[in-house]
């Protein structure tokens, strides 16, 4: 389902941070267009 998709990452300082999600998505066929880590609270 990630095939050919553009991905915007909204990580969470107290959950999964942006860089960790980036690592995961990098190993797929999707294209990362934005990544950030929010403080959700």
């Amino acid at each position: 389902m990630l095939e050919g998709k553009k991905v915007a990452i909204l990580g969470d300082r107290d959950g999964i941070p942006g860089p960790a999600i980036e690592e995961c998505i990098k190993a797929t066929a999707a294209d990362i267009v934005f990544s950030t880590t929010e403080c959700f609270v």
Binding site: L10, G11, A27, V33
Partner: protein
Amino acid sequence: MDLENQSRIKDLAEKYGKDDLIIVLGGGEAEASGMAAETVSQGDPAFAGPLAGVPLGLKAYHIFELKEEIDPAVYDEQVGMMEMVLDVEEIVNEVKMYRGD
């Protein structure tokens, strides 16, 4: 959701369209994750940011939902730890609810 990020997402949605762009969330807590999913699909529920009253219709997934799509070794290294401590089911249900599928 952070006001600046709302603005960024809005721009990206205009650029790529709602069929190509997906949002991946890393939220550590159900309510906030659901809210992020809601913000990018129906608009900012807090009516504070640029997405207030702007329904982009984007689909957001939590990284937990994408486990099958990701290299297990990488997933385990990056997410495994948090998967054990967080309430995965509650978070995923909340995100699903606001994604509307």
